[in-house]
């Protein structure tokens, strides 16, 4: 039997259509004008012990909502979740003992107290014995060097420091499953690297199951063996990372700033590229923010250097950037059938 079993899970929110301004706010008091948001619209998956699963998708896809339901703090509208055969929502306290959770945007530490005090309180709440506690703290100290922060108030920590402390806290009671909702949000490269080290290490040594949401495809590539892609509350892809990796790796986006950009530029670009590389060139063009054009290239079909060369000779390009494919584009590709 799998550790986490999710079947036809759904969650919808009824929300009031709010009107503008003060008068609107008053009329809202008596309004029955509701609309329903399907945050999660019937998803199913199974996760085994020891897996690291990347749960990814664009903003508003329903990732956080799913995690809230799996951790038992939000009641599903329909469907079933079982963890170790128990429904988290109905066994919240019992399930909490075997779970660790990090919500990247907020802390579970005591804002006004020194860091070490939060750890001590958590030690008592989760009934961790002194020996295990000491070992855990030593291990984390070795991995990320937190000791200097212990006496500092949580609210004075930098975002990255706080996040590392939160991660440490979520693993303190040696949980079977850890949910990480955007644990790398706003972190610099070196802290991100530390974060990945910890997660990998704990998964390896303790066989902790990890479910991770992120907008950084680097996290996914570095950590996960499996990914689940979700959009608009529905699962688009669930499977091996390798297939998707090829997708991430194959695509690059050229961001171009073209002189005298106008309505016809996109069309001209497309014509020029078709002229040179044929109709099956695997390149998509879209207008980004003001005067920046995104040219996404499937390197398996057309080499990036040739596209760049061709564009440079045909257009007055003022600035160029090369970026890895974004989450939104991955999702678009998946919709377009890139994985099937």
């Amino acid at each position: 039997m799998s550790l986490i079993h999710v079947k036809d899970l759904s969650k919808h929110f009824k929300i009031l259509n709010r009107r503008e301004g003060l008068g609107g706010a008053f009329r809202d008091l008596f309004s029955g004008d509701f609309r329903t948001v399907e945050a999660v619209a019937g998803i199913s998956f199974d996760i085994d012990a020891g897996e690291i699963v990347g749960y990814i998708g664009p903003n508003g896809a329903g990732k956080s909502t799913t995690i809230k339901m799996m951790t038992g703090i939000l009641k599903p509208s329909g469907g079933l979740i079982e963890i170790n055969g128990l429904v988290p929502y109905e066994n919240r306290i019992r399930q909490a003992q075997i779970m660790g959770v990090v919500f990247g945007q907020r802390t579970q530490l005591w804002w006004d107290l020194p860091v070490i005090e939060s750890f001590k309180i958590l030690k008592e709440i989760y009934k961790v014995d002194q020996k295990t506690f000491d070992e855990h703290m030593d291990m984390f100290n070795e991995l990320v060097g937190l000791k200097e922060l212990y006496s500092q108030q949580v609210r004075t920590l930098s975002l990255g420091q706080r996040m590392l402390c939160d991660i440490t806290a979520s693993f303190l009671h040696n949980p079977q499953i850890v949910f990480l909702d955007e644990p790398t949000i706003g972190l610099d490269i070196s802290v991100k690297a530390k974060m990945r080290t910890i997660i990998k290490e704990l998964n390896r040594t303790r066989n902790t199951t990890i479910i991770l949401t992120t907008h950084d495809l680097g996290d996914v590539e570095a950590l996960c063996n499996r990914i689940i892609i979700i959009d608009k509350g529905k699962i688009l892809y669930d499977g091996d990372i390798k297939k998707v990796n090829a997708l991430f790796g194959a695509y690059r986006t050229l961001k171009l700033q073209i002189d005298q950009f106008n309505e016809t530029t996109l069309q001209t670009l497309n014509d020029k590229l078709t002229e040179k590389f044929g109709t099956d060139h695997g390149i998509t063009i879209s207008e980004n923010e003001e005067s920046w054009t995104d040219v996404t290239i499937d390197q398996a079909r057309t080499p990036l250097s040739e596209v760049l060369n061709h564009l440079m000779t045909n257009f007055t390009v003022m600035d160029v950037r090369i970026v890895e494919i974004s989450m939104e584009n991955v999702v678009r590709k998946v919709y377009d059938g890139a994985l099937t």
């Binding site: 703090i73 306290i93 019992r94 909490a96 779970m99 919500f103 309180i121 709440i125 989760y126």
Partner: protein, 263 residues
Amino acid sequence: MRGYLAVMRGSFMVSVVYRFGFLFTILGNIIYLSVAFFLWKSIYRSSDTIRGLTFNETFIYVGLGSAIFILLKTYVDWILNFEIREGAIASYLIKPIDFGLYTLFASFGSLLMNLAAITIPTLIMLIFVFKVEFVLGPGLIIFPLSLFMAFLVSFYIDYFVGLLGFHSESVWGLSTVKEIIVTVFSGALIPLHFFPEALQKVLLWLPFQAIYHTPLMMITRPDQSWNIFLPMLFVQIFWVVILFIATRLFYNQAIKVLRISGG
């Protein structure tokens, strides 16, 4: 249990962080005591007792009353409301602890701080500066227990209003109304003796008098007999049990509709 005690300790430490605010509360309390002293002294110039209370008794009621008022204010409804809107409530719900008990023990932390920083200093001032006399009697013995029960009644009323926030986004209007009702009907604003007889009878059937009126009765007239005090204590315990059960049932229902903000 260990966990809840740790929470209490943590909450106490948080109160200590904000101890600076207490200096002002204490200062304000000294001013209040002085004003009340001279005010009631002048009222009592014409007669020795008013509505059966001597100056000494009235001053205990009023003087200790303000300290107890601060002590019994838990602000749990405001805190919960804030945490629901911010989504911070998620970080308690992901822990293996009972939410009601967690909230209660967190309140104990600030209760302890209030005791140490306000109630006890006020008592000392009353005795040594204002020369108030406390008559030894059953009331004095039962007072601490009654005060604790009063705290629990106050807590559960606040907690109940706080849980309403699981349903609607903002309960500040309700909180304000509750605040007024509790302040007036508990005898915190004016001693219940000064209310019309008929209203007094009604108020005795409500939980609010258990918050404020009861412990203060015990400390102002401690020489009365157990026959008077014990039923009063039982009424308090009755309300604690009723409110405890009511909030439990309500929690089980409210948690189903709680939306966790943020993410």
